[in-house]
Symmetry: C2
Subunit: 468 residues, 2 copies
Amino acid sequence: MSLFMLTSTRFSSEPRSSDLLAATLRHRRERLAAQIDVPVLLWSGRSSARNFPANVYAYRANSHFLYFAGLPLYNAAIRLASGRLELFMDDATPAYILWHGDSPQRDQIAQTIGADAAYPLSHLESLDAEFATIPVQDAATRQWQSQVRQRSLPSTLQDWDLALAKAIVELRLSHDEAAIAEIRKAVATTVEAHRAGMAATPKAQWEAQIRAAMEQVIMADQMTCAYSSIVTVQGEVLHSDRYSNAIEPQDLLLADVGAEAESGWAADVTRTWAVSGKFSPTQRDIYDLVLSAHDQCIEKARPGVEYRDLHLLAAQVIAAGLTDLGILRGHAEDLVEQDAHALFFPHGIGHLLGLDVHDMEDLGDLAGYAAGRSRSDRFGLGYLRLDRPLQAGMAVTIEPGFYQVPALLNDPQRRARYQDLVNWERLAQFSDVRGIRIEDDLLITATGNEVLTAALPTQAEAIEQMVA
Amino acid sequence: MSLFMLTSTRFSSEPRSSDLLAATLRHRRERLAAQIDVPVLLWSGRSSARNFPANVYAYRANSHFLYFAGLPLYNAAIRLASGRLELFMDDATPAYILWHGDSPQRDQIAQTIGADAAYPLSHLESLDAEFATIPVQDAATRQWQSQVRQRSLPSTLQDWDLALAKAIVELRLSHDEAAIAEIRKAVATTVEAHRAGMAATPKAQWEAQIRAAMEQVIMADQMTCAYSSIVTVQGEVLHSDRYSNAIEPQDLLLADVGAEAESGWAADVTRTWAVSGKFSPTQRDIYDLVLSAHDQCIEKARPGVEYRDLHLLAAQVIAAGLTDLGILRGHAEDLVEQDAHALFFPHGIGHLLGLDVHDMEDLGDLAGYAAGRSRSDRFGLGYLRLDRPLQAGMAVTIEPGFYQVPALLNDPQRRARYQDLVNWERLAQFSDVRGIRIEDDLLITATGNEVLTAALPTQAEAIEQMVA
C-alpha cells in the first residue's frame, strides 16, 4: 500500500483545497484544545494481513486520526497540543519506492495539512509518555501505542483517554462544512450504485451479479465500500454477507450498500425493490407501510428531538399499520409497549453517520448514548444505537424495516407470548415479504433536516420504474 | 460474517461433491500422518476489524486450515492425529442467527468434511498442550493459539511447529486433483475479468474504471480478489495499489488481477495492453521481447528443471533482446552476470501458486526455497521467490517484465555502474514503455506443463483485437 493514499497529482493541482484542508484541521484541533489540556497522540494504523503478511486488506486509516490529520496517511502519528499539530512519519525508502512508487515526502505532507512540525517516527519514542490516545484497530499498532505510552492500554478507556474520547465525541457529533462536503460525495456515488443495482436486476440470475454491478460504481469512482454490502433476496437476514442465492421473479431484493470517500467519510443507503420490477399487492402493502414510518420519522427529525422518540414513532407506525393489515391485533401503543413491533422490526431506527458508518462505534456507546443513558433491556429498544437529542450538524440514518425472521417468529417462547396479538393465518398471506428496509441519510439542520440521499427515490412507483 | 461461508443449499444439492471432499481431505491428512506423528491443531482464524470492531474486512480462513478442513469455516479449529480429523466449532447462537441467518450445524459440517468427531470450541482448552500448529494472521486467534498451547508462540517456527510446516510444504507443493479443479475455476473467472478490462478500456477515463470492470466479473462469479489488483498506466510501479491516474491514448495499461475461488484457491494473471488498442512500434518491440522471454520459459518448464534457471533464462532473453534493440551493450551472459537485466526486470520470474497467491508465503521461504538454499544477495536474483526444481503437480506463475523505474534508472550509483552498458539515448526513445508484464499460470505435469491460463491470448495482435 502507499505511504500516502491520495495522489500527489490531485494535490498539487488543487492548492486552494489544500489551504481549505489546513484551515479545517486547525479549526478542529482548536476546538479540541478548548476541551482537553493534555497532549494527544493519534495513530493512523497499518494494514492487517489477510492470508499471509504481504497480502494485506485494503488499508483504512483510523477515523480519529483522519479527523485531525485530514489525509489517509499510512503508518503515521500526529500530536495535538494546545492547538499545535505535529506529524510523525518516515519518508519512503528506496526499496519501498521500487515496489510502491514515489510518495509525497513528510515535509510536503506537513505543509499540506498545516502541521507546525514534522519528525520521523523514531521521534515518538522520545516523547513524554503522559498523553491521551485512542487505540487503533490493528494489533501491531496497538502494541506500539502501549510501547510509546510505556504501559499497556487497558481494554476500556480510562482517565485521560476517556476524557479525550468524550471531547472527540463532542466534536465529531456535529459535522463541519468540510465533512458534509465529503459525505455528499459518498452519497452521490452511493445513489448511482443503487441505480446501477436496480438497472442490473432484470438480467441478473443471482445476488452476486447485482452486488457486483453496485460495487463497480463505487470502485470506478475511486471509493470503497463503507461496510460489507448486503444485497440479498433474504432481506430477513439483517446483516447478510452472502450473495449466492438465485433471484426469482417473485422475490424482493434488499440492497444496503454505501460508499466511503477517499477521505474516509461514509454514506449508508438501503433500498428494496421487486425483482420482477413490480411489487405484488402484499409486498406493496408492507412497502408503503415501511415508507410511511420512514417519512414520518424524517418529517419529525430536527434539533432537540430525541432520536429514541423517532424509533418509537416508527415502531408505532409499523404496529398501527400491521393492525390495519390484520397482522397484529390491538392498539398500537399497547403493542409497542409489549415489543410486538419488534417481532417484525427488531433493529433500531438508525445510527450516527460520519467517518464511520456507525460513527465512533469504536468508542462503544460513548457517542451513541447521551451521558447517563444506557441500552434498554427491552427487545424492542435494546438494538437502538443512538439515544441522544438531535442537534444541528449531526448526520443520522433513518431506516425502518419489516422482516419475517424465522428465528424470531418460530421461537416457541415468543410464539406463546404473542399468540393472541398476531393473526398468524393473516401473516401467512404475506409470505412473499421476507424483508423490506428503506434507509436514507439525514443531515440535521438548524431548523429541521436535509435528506442527503433525496436524489434516490423511495416511492414504490419510482422504484418500480427504475427496475423496469 | 457467516459461521460457515458456503451456503447450505449448494451443499445439500451436491451430495456427491461432498463425498469427494471428504475423500480428498482424508487423503491429505493420511499423507500428513505419514510425515509427522505429533497431533496437529489448525485454526481457521477470525475477521480483522477495519475502522471499528463490528465493521470487519471480508473473512478469509487460514490456508493450512482450508487445506485440511476443506471449508472456509469461521472461528473453528481442527485436530489431525494419526489420520483422524476432529472438528471444533460452536453452533450459531439465536442472536447470531437473527443478524446473520441460519448456518449448518457443527454435526452437519463434520459429516460433510468426514470428521471423526466434533466438539464445541471450549473442548480445545481440555486438550493436551503438546501439539504442532501454524500461527494464523489475526492477532486475536494467535493469542488463543498461545493460550491453548499454554505458552507463547515464538515469532519464528520451532521444533514441532517447524516440522509440521515442512511436512505441509511437502504436501502443498504438488496439488491434487481437487485443488487443480478449484484453481481452474479461479483461472476461468480471471480470464473473463481480463477480457472485461480490455473491453472497458476504450470508454474508460481513469484506471479505477478498468479495475472496476475487472473486479465486477470476479464478484459476480461469487469469488474474491486473491490479492490487491494492480491496474495502472504506471506499470513501472511494481505493486501499485492506486487507481487514480487518468488514462491517455499513448499509455500502456498493465493489469495484474486474479480471482480466488470460494474454496480459497487462487489465480494470478497479468496482461498489458495499449489504451488506444494499438501498440506503438516501441511498445510493440518491448512487448514482443517480454513475450519471447515468457514463451521460452514456458517451453522449458517441466519436472526436474530448476525454477531459478527459468529466471536466468528470462533474464538472458531480455538482456539479449535489449542488446538487439540497442538499449544494452555487450553479451547477454555478461550482462546478466552483472545484473544489468535487473535494471529493467528487477523482480523474479514468478512464484508458487495455490491456496495463497504466493503459496505458503506465511512460512517465509520454507516453501519457496529448497532445503539448504537461501535468497541471493544479487540484485538480479534476490527478489526470486522460488528456487526449487519443478515437480509434477506444482502450480507456478511465469511473469517476465520490462519496466522503466525512475528510482532505479536515476539512482546515481546504478547510473555510474551501468554507464557504459546502457545506451541512455537509445533508451530515451522508448519512453512510452513504462511497464510491461505478461503473466500466466502453469501446472507442471509429468512430462512438461499445462498453461492453465491459455484461454487468454498473449500475442500482441490478439491483445490488440480484444481492446479494439
